[in-house]
Structures are given as C-alpha cells and as structure tokens.
Amino acid sequence: MSVIERTQQPVKRKERAVLAEQPAEEAVPGYSPWPWRVGALLVTVVFPLIWFGGLVTSSDAGMAVPDWPGTYGYNMFLYPFSSWFFGPWDFFLEHGHRLIGSTAGLVAIGLVATCIRCDQRRWVWWLSGGLLLLVIFQGLLGGLRVVIDARTIAKLHGCVGPAFFASAAAFCVVLSRWWRDQGIQASRSASAGRAPLALGPAERQVWRGAHLWLALSFTQLVIGAFLRHVGVDGSPQGFQHLVYTHVALACIVLGGTHLYAGRVRRLPGVEPRIRSAARWLSALVTLQFLLGLSTWIVKYNWPSWLDSWTWTAQFVIPEKTMWQTNIVTLHVAIGSAIVACWAVLTVRCWRVFGLAEKAAAGAELSAERAERWQIGQGTTG
C-alpha cells in the first residue's frame, strides 16, 4: 500500500529535476492527477475491505446476514446505522463488509468516469472498465456465496478480492505522474542522442523474475484461501497436503523474494522505484512468513516436539479471541499486500524496461518519430 501512497511526492521532486533542463510548459503535455487520485482512493478503500473480508471468514460470520442484496429486508444502505454499528460482532462484520464493498464499487465507477474524462489513453479506459467489471464480479460472488452458501464460491471470492486489489494498485502505476515522466525522460534522452538504459541479461532477469514471483505469490495466496475454506467434511489427507504445499511454497517465496531483492539492489543504475518496491517486498515477505507461523500456533498450537519447554507446552489456543482473529487476518491481509506489491513492481518493470527495449529498437528511428510515440501518452484534459 505505502508503495502506492508514496507515488505522489517524490514524483514531483524528480519531475523538477527532469524538467530543469527545459522549460516545463513547452514540452510537457498536461497531466491530470485526478485518475491517479481516484485510483489511490480505490486502493485505500479495498485494503480495509480485504481486512474485513478476512475477519468475516475468521469469525465465520459469512452467514450473519441471510439475505442479499438486502440486509434483513432493508436496502443495504438504509439499514439503521446504530443497530448495525452497535450490533453483534458477526453482524457488524458482514454488513460492514457489504457496505465497504459497495463503496468500492462506486469508487470504481468513478474511476472509469475520471479516466474517460481526464486521460486520453484509450487502453487506460478499457483497463478501468475491466477493473469495474472485476469488482462487480467480486460483489456478485460475495452475494451468491450468501444466497447459495457454496464453498467453491467462497474460495473464488477469497481469491478474486486480492486479485482486484493488486490490479487496482498496479493500475495506479499506469495513472501516476511517474509513468508519464518515464516516457518524457526516455524521449528526451532519445532526442538528445543519449544512449538508452542498457537492457542486459541482469535487467531482463529482473523483468522476467517479477512475473514469476507475482505468479508464485498469487498461487500461495490461492492455496491459503483453500486452507481457510476447507469444508468441515474435508479429508484429513487433503488438508495435510495443502499445509505441506503452503509451507513449501512459503519457503520458496521467502528465499526467492530475498534473492530477487538482492539482485535488484546490485543492479547498477536501477530505477529507484523498482528498488524500493523490492525492498518493501523482502520486508513484507519476511513478516508474512513469521505471521504464517504465528497463525499456525494460534490456531493449532506449537508443534509437539517443542513441548519440553514450559513456555510452549503450557500454551492454550485462545479460540475466537481478538488475538487469534487478528493475527490470522493480518496474515491474510499482508498476503494480499504482497501480491499487490509484486503487481506494482511488475508494471514498473514493464514501464522502465519496456521503454528501454523500445528505445533500443528505435535507436535507428529518427528522434522525431520517437518523440511522437512517447509523448503521445500524455493527456490534455
């Protein structure tokens, strides 16, 4: 999240540096910060939504409101505030989850409108539309999950939510001033005849690696969702396999992320935003690994071979306490944050290395033509 939040400030600083060479008004087409702002708002709304969703599952509150789209016969938004806010915990969670979810839907609609109004890039419009579609789909899944109470749908709902969160975060990168500045910078370098960023094997590895780790982190999340939604009549063997796979992949993701971050750190002249995302990732994944272990302990106790220590042997699982629920939910939420972080990093790689690739390919093209395709992404609205 904070990766996204920080997008605004440093961009401005850097922009000044970039533009110092030339008067701003001349070459830089207008940039509207509004799409990015609405996008950031969407991300900000969805993160607590994931948190709430996690709490709903942990508290088994999914069926605290039996109907949908209404709430006990009321229109969802008209349900008396005080009976909800001061009502039972399960009901608070489930209804709250629906309220934030609907808000996210509204913001997503606003995002499409803002993009169409303030951004000239058609493909951005389509992407914003796709995002809206995804959030509608997710809402529908959530509703169906209540109406027909099927586990498959609960699992799907648990996986699409984080996917939406990650997509929204990645989309913000496309909307950011940074994105545009990268284009300007590249075209200036090209027109000034400066050599583009060298795209050696190390860079390509970082670029490709981002996709791999994004995919593996998401797979890990999907396995986690299956772990969470295992049915009461599921087989012990199935659960055990899920646990083994989740732990094995956790080790792979943990090791891989650190290796990746190390590689990025050693890359000369790498874009600071790629570096910072990688740094965030190694911190988050380490935290997540520890949270995973804690989740196991607060749900199923320490492994029995640790029972020669008084401290571990006397531990009693604090079922359905705030303690337990929040550790588990934090594990769920950070899982989503990790996937989102990888998505952001991946999109940043596309931008930086993609431009470099194009620049290399277009080195023979005239500076004039190069200018056109890069600036063309700016906006006038």
């Binding site: 599921g234 492994p303 220590w309």
Partner: protein
C-alpha cells in the same frame, strides 16, 4: 466518448450476466452427513470372518437407517424418547440445545448463533465426532474421537463418563499443549449446547459400535426389518419400543391395541435393539455421573502448611514413584517421559490390536487406513520436569490424574496406593520441575506449582 462509454457499459453488463449464469450453475453444497464407522465394520469382519469374507452390504443400510431413525442427521438431530417424559436420554441431552449446536452456521441480528458445532469444533473433531476432521492429521495428539465414549480429563473414575462440569471445563479452559482450544468468549448457553452435542455424538457413536458388534452373531438374519421400520414413522418405531418397555415394567400391559404381526415383530426387535443396547447398555452408564465423582480426600495437614511441598513428603513420593507405584516405568528415571514410549492410546489400539495387524508393517493395516483410521502414533508419557498439567494444575486435579489414571491412555490408575500415598506422589510430581536432574535431594527451590489451594477452580 459517449459511444465508448456505452460500448463499455453494454459489454460489461453482458460479461457480468454471463458470469452470473455460469455461477448459478454451481450446485449448492450438499449438507454434510454422518460418516459410517467403517473402521469398526472392518474390525468386526477381521475378528469374526474368514480373511476373504465380508458382511452383507445390506447391514450397512440397516444400521444407517436405524441410526437416522433414532438420532436424525447433522442438520436435524433427533432423540428417541421411548420412556416419555421420564426418558433418561432426554434428561441427559436436551433437544433444544442440540438444535442450537447442530446444522449449518448462521447467526441473526441479535447475535444468536446456530450451527455451533460446525462453527467451532467440526474441522477438528469431524462432523460425526470421529476425531477425523480435516485438520486431524496435522495435530498431535489427534482430536478426540467421541465414539469410544472415553475421555481423559474428568473427575470421574475410569469407565465412567465425564460430568457436564468436566466437559464445560475442557471446552472453557482448553487443553494446554494440544490443539484443543479454550473457548473463553462463548456465552454459557452455547457452551452448554456444545456439551449436549458432544454427549449426543458420543452416545450415537457408542450405539453404532454396539450395533456393528451384533453383526457377526446374526448369521445372515437381518438386524432389523427395514420395511416395517420405514412403514411405521419414527414415532411408531419408538412407541413400539416404548410399548415393549412398558410391557416389561408392567409385567405385560393389557391395554395394548392389536398390532399387525409385522409391527409386533418389529417391536420385539426394537425392544432389544433400542431398549437394551441403547438404553440399558449405553445411556444407563451416563446416569448418576455426579455420584461417581472421585472425592479428593483432604491432604495431610503438614503437606499443605508450606508454600512448597515439605521435603519428607517429596522424599516419600519419590520412593513411591520409583518403587511401589512404578511411575518410572513410563515417565523414566529422569521424569522426562522417556520410559516406555512405544505405547498407543485406546483410540488407536481399538483397531491396532486386531489379530494380524503389526504396527511395524503398514501392509498389515492398510485396510484400516483405507476405512478411515488415522495412522498409529505412539503416545508419549508426559515430561514431568515441566510444570504443565493438561488436566489442571491444582493439587486436586493432579491427585485425580494419579489416583484415577488418564482414560484412553497407558497412564494407569493407582488402586494400590492409599490416599496418603497418592498425596505424597502429588507432592513429588509438583516438586519434580524444580529438582535437579542428577543427585536430587537438596536441589528443591521452594516454588509452588499452581498455588497450594487444593482444588484450583
């Protein structure tokens, strides 16, 4: 612009509609059902039949139908009430509470919950209470299989069921060092509903085992006349058994209406199957539990006079531990629990002791695993060098563990010890965590374990 917007909207609507259509095709998950006790079935076959023989599959249906008629389903529990208002089973377990604990998870605006067992317990103990919920293999010890009717931590002696207070306590306090959680946040009403549901699953499970044990003796005859059973409603069926029971009590009642011969025969069958096997052999065991509680005699006065147990009691306890009580056999000379470590608990021994099964060779018991048995894992005697007692740390709790043993585990009762001797062993057990491993005597630091109140809370 407006065009594009329109295109976007119409395409989105189409796509969402398609997805909704696809999803609506998803079946609603079927309600979970009670799982048949196939392990017991296979065990009875191996105990009683030739190696290649099996019970007729019809028996499965007969057993299932009888169980469903009497006990209902996970969504709709039922209780036979053959003795009317005085029915001992209905006094033991309340149907209203069962309804709160059974069924799918839901709650309402006021915070009332249903489906408590599935919300809180089933992922470990299993829908059937067979201790084989999805998480089971990942836990040590395995979650309790209620169907044997055995419990470890209770105030009653071996072979007597726990009291409701014992079950409430286990649910409220959990079992340290195991996966059994402490449910501190549940309202009293819900805990009591869960207690009744545990008793219900236990009695149902014991009864199923009892019925399966009958199969070898039937020699091909049906266990129960299914057609007659289905024809008569449950009420009739239980009324039939009831009539039988009343007849027995009243020495042959006179105002019985004439029944068709078929029904008559069914009633006779039910009298044995329900009146005898269920009520006399199983439900009776659960009555008067409060009277069977093991009283903990007051400890000798000087034992309780100091913060830590006095040396002479500790020394006496140590002698018993290594001598007459022979605790050393399992808990080891060090007390670390490294004596006999290759014993199995009763839930495993129940099928592991079947002739032909060798724990060292998996092929010999593969068929049990396929029937749903959890792989055998030895129970480790407790490490007594750490002051953690799963059944409670108050001296009275430890007293009961030592005097009564721990049901279902190798830990034996100590009938040969006098109450005073048991107290001495308690004193030694409490002192062990603070005793130096080598040498012994002088190394006791005067630290109390779990307070010196005799009976915690």
């Amino acid at each position: 612009m407006a065009e594009i917007l329109r295109a976007l909207v119409s395409k989105s609507v189409a796509a969402v509609g398609l997805m909704a259509f696809l999803l609506a095709g998803c079946e609603k998950v079927p309600s979970p059902e009670f799982r048949a006790n196939r392990v017991e079935w296979v065990k009875q076959e191996r105990l009683n039949l030739e190696a290649d023989q099996q019970f007729a599959p019809e028996y499965r249906e007969q057993v299932d139908t009888l169980l469903t008629t009497l006990f209902g389903t996970p969504d709709e529990p039922r209780l036979p009430a053959i003795y009317g208002d005085e029915d001992p089973l209905n006094q033991l377990v309340s149907l209203d509470r069962l309804r709160l604990a059974a069924g799918p998870v839901s709650s309402d605006e006021k915070g009332k919950h249903w489906g408590l067992y599935r919300e809180h317990c089933a992922h470990c103990h299993g829908i059937t209470g067979d201790g084989a919920g999805p998480t089971a293999l990942a836990l040590y010890p395995y979650p309790r299989d209620f169907r044997l009717g055995k419990y470890k931590f209770k105030s009653t002696p071996l072979r007597r069921p726990p009291t409701d207070a014992d079950l409430v306590r286990v649910i409220r306090r959990g079992i340290p060092g195991s996966a059994m959680p402490a449910f501190t946040t549940l309202p009293e009403e819900e805990v009591l509903a869960l207690v009744d549901y545990v008793k219900y699953l236990t009695i149902r499970g014991e009864y199923e085992r009892r019925l399966l044990a009958e199969l070898p003796g039937l020699e091909g005859e049906p266990l129960v006349d299914l057609k007659a059973l289905r024809a008569g409603s449950t009420k009739q069926a239980t009324a039939g058994a009831n009539a039988g029971a009343n007849q027995k009590e009243a020495g042959g009642g006179s105002e019985q209406p004439e029944l068709p011969a078929e029904q008559e025969a069914l009633n006779a069958q039910l009298q044995t199957l329900v009146g005898e096997y269920l009520y006399e052999e199983i439900v009776d065991r659960w009555s008067d539990r409060d009277e069977s509680i093991t009283e903990v005699p007051a400890p000798p006065a000087d034992l309780m006079s100091t913060a830590a147990p006095p040396q002479e009691w500790v020394a006496k306890g140590r002698d018993l531990f290594f001598g007459k009580a022979n605790c050393v056999q399992c808990h080891g000379a060090t007390g670390l629990g490294d004596g006999q470590t290759q014993n199995y608990d009763d839930w495993t021994n129940d099928w592991l002791k079947t002739p032909g099964v060798d724990v060292l060779s998996k092929q010999t018991y593969q068929h049990f695993l396929e029937a749903g048995a959890l792989p055998p894992r030895p129970v480790r005697p407790r490490n007594l060098r750490i002051p953690v007692y799963r059944g409670g740390k108050a001296p009275a709790d430890i007293y009961r563990r030592i005097a009564n043993g721990i049901e279902g585990t190798p830990m034996p009762s100590s009938p040969s010890l006098t109450p005073e001797e048991v107290w001495a062993v308690v004193a030694y057990v409490q002192a062990m965590p603070y005793e130096r491993l080598s040498g012994g005597d002088a190394a006791m630091s005067a630290r109390p374990v779990g307070g010196r109140e005799v009976s915690g809370k």
